[in-house]
Symmetry: C2
Subunit: 131 residues, 2 copies
C-alpha cells in the first residue's frame, strides 16, 4: 500500500505479469466495485466459463491480443477493447498463441448506478498547487 | 460499436489520445458503473477540482506519469497506480511536464456492491472451442 488517507487509498498493479492476478477490493476498501488486473501468458486461457448471479462485469484489454467467448460466440479482442458482460452471460477468454494478454475486470452490482457524473460531480473550492 | 448481443456489448478506447476522453456508459449500456478513458497531454491538468455526491471513483493509470491531488495532499502516480477516492474527496490530477498521462476512471454508487466474485460467480456448462 503506497498511501492512504480519509478519502483515498493508493495501490499499484506493477508486477502483475509475474503474479498473474491482483485484486483491489480489499486492498483499496472498494465499496462499489471489485477490480482485478489479470495477466494471461501467450496461449493460456481462463480455465473455465462462468456467469454471475448479480454482478455486471466490464473487461478492459490493457495490452496484447486474445479471444473472448460469450454464450457460444467467439470474437477477437486486443489492446483497447472494452467489453460489458451482463450477469447471465457465460464468458471465457484466452490469450492468443503469440501474445500475452493483460486485462482489467470491473465487477459491479447490475443496475446499481443511481446517477452519473453530470449530476453527481460537484466543483470543489480547494485546488492543487499547479492550478 | 464492434459487436452487441443479448448479454454483451463491445467497444474500444483506440484513438483516445486524439479524442482526449471517451465514455462508455451509454456506448456499452453499463448499469453498474460509469467508465471513461482519458488522455492528458504532457503538462496538462484536469482544469478543476471536484467531489461527488454519491459516487466512489477508482482511477487506474494506464501509462505515463503525473501528480494526483486529494484534499490538500499531492502525490506522484505512474503506470500501474490504482487510486480509490471516496465521494467527499476533493480531487484533481495532471500529467507530468515531460509525460502524457493515460488513465481510466470508474465511477460507482458508493456501498453498492452486494457480493463479490467468490459468492457471485457460478461455473457454466458451455465452453469455448479452445477448452
Amino acid at each position: 500500500m503506497e498511501k492512504a488517507q480519509t478519502n483515498y487509498k493508493v495501490a499499484s498493479f506493477a508486477g502483475v505479469e509475474t503474479a498473474g492476478r491482483m485484486t483491489f477490493k480489499d486492498m483499496l476498501d472498494l465499496s462499489g466495485s471489485e477490480l482485478s488486473v489479470n495477466a494471461l501468458p501467450a496461449g493460456v486461457s481462463v480455465p473455465f466459463t462462468h456467469w454471475h448471479k448479480r454482478n455486471e462485469e466490464v473487461y478492459v484489454i490493457l495490452s496484447g491480443k486474445g479471444q473472448f467467448y460469450v454464450d457460444g460466440e467467439e470474437f477477437a479482442v486486443a489492446q483497447g477493447s472494452v467489453i460489458r458482460v451482463s450477469p447471465a452471460g457465460e464468458r471465457c477468454l484466452k490469450a492468443d498463441a503469440t501474445s500475452p494478454l493483460l486485462y482489467l475486470c470491473i465487477q459491479t452490482e447490475a443496475n446499481s448506478l443511481v446517477q452519473a457524473t453530470e449530476n453527481d460531480g460537484v466543483l470543489a473550492a480547494s485546488k492543487p498547487s499547479w492550478l
